[in-house]
Amino acid sequence: MPISVMIVDDSAVMRGFIRRVLTLAGFEVSECLEASNGEEALTGLEGHSVDVILTDINMPKMNGEELLRRLEMDARLRSVPTLVISTDATKARILKMLSLGAQGYITKPFSPEALREELERVLGEKYA
């Protein structure tokens, strides 16, 4: 089943890598929105609905923590699953992001298989 995604990362090459890995992992991506920070992501999501949001944490203007807070405050967007992708592997950080509403967390480096497993868990089996 095709999925639509929003990729939020301040690195253009990282966004390109995630886009590529989604395909390598076997996902059919029907729509791929991109943003370089949380602010841009919220603007991009105003007129769009996506199946999942993949977000970095450390970004300028609006970081991943604030993005999660804003998503939780939005009646329409709070139901969109969010997967955090970060280099920070500490339990404290992972628990913090999950407590803010993230449904999944994956640390860099990650393989296409690892991303697939975590996305399938977050999205549910219907997208497998």
Partner: protein
């Protein structure tokens, strides 16, 4: 720059710090950059032309991380990361991928060297190769298309020994 970071480089081979760097660098390069890295004896004639990236970190430990990549290796790594032919790459794309590699590698090393420590990493920046030896801990690798060098200098921090 902290005075401690200006000390002469030391190569630890494949024990201690060296073993951790070898393992983490190999994992990062193979998992996300599709390159095989093998630890090797230091040889630094290529460093003046290298793409060098500097990352500062602070928190429970404070210091600096340096990654140097030979130009051809940088293009090969960037091509693997983006799924492009090396000929298709722009210099900007190659540099951005090496900045991202430095960010991921530094983060993964911090997580392995000091798990559960509160550390924040500054934004990676391109640096001069003359700073490539600032660290007291240093390792070199060979990849199919050339060389990579990693250095970490630790000065102090909230909880550093």
């Amino acid at each position: 720059m902290p005075e401690q970071l200006q000390s002469a480089p030391r190569t630890d081979g494949v024990t201690g710090f060296g073993a951790i760097v070898v393992r983490v660098a190999a994992q990062v390069l193979e998992t996300m950059f599709f390159e095989e890295a093998v630890a090797t004896a230091c040889e630094h004639a290529w460093l003046p032309t290298a793409v060098t990236v500097h990352v500062s970190f602070e928190g429970s430990h404070r210091g600096e991380f340096l990654l140097s990549v030979a130009p051809d290796t940088a293009r090969s790594i960037a091509a693997g990361f983006l799924g492009l032919d090396p000929e298709e790459l722009t210099g900007t794309q190659a540099a951005e991928v090496i900045l991202e590699l430095a960010n991921i590698l530094c983060g993964a090393l911090m997580s392995t060297l000091w798990p559960e420590s509160a550390l924040s990493l500054d934004t990676p920046e391109l640096a001069s190769a003359e700073h490539a030896f600032l660290g007291s801990m240093h390792c070199c690798f060979t990849l199919p298309d050339g060389m990579v060098a990693v250095s970490i200098g630790v000065s102090d921090g909230d909880g550093a020994a």
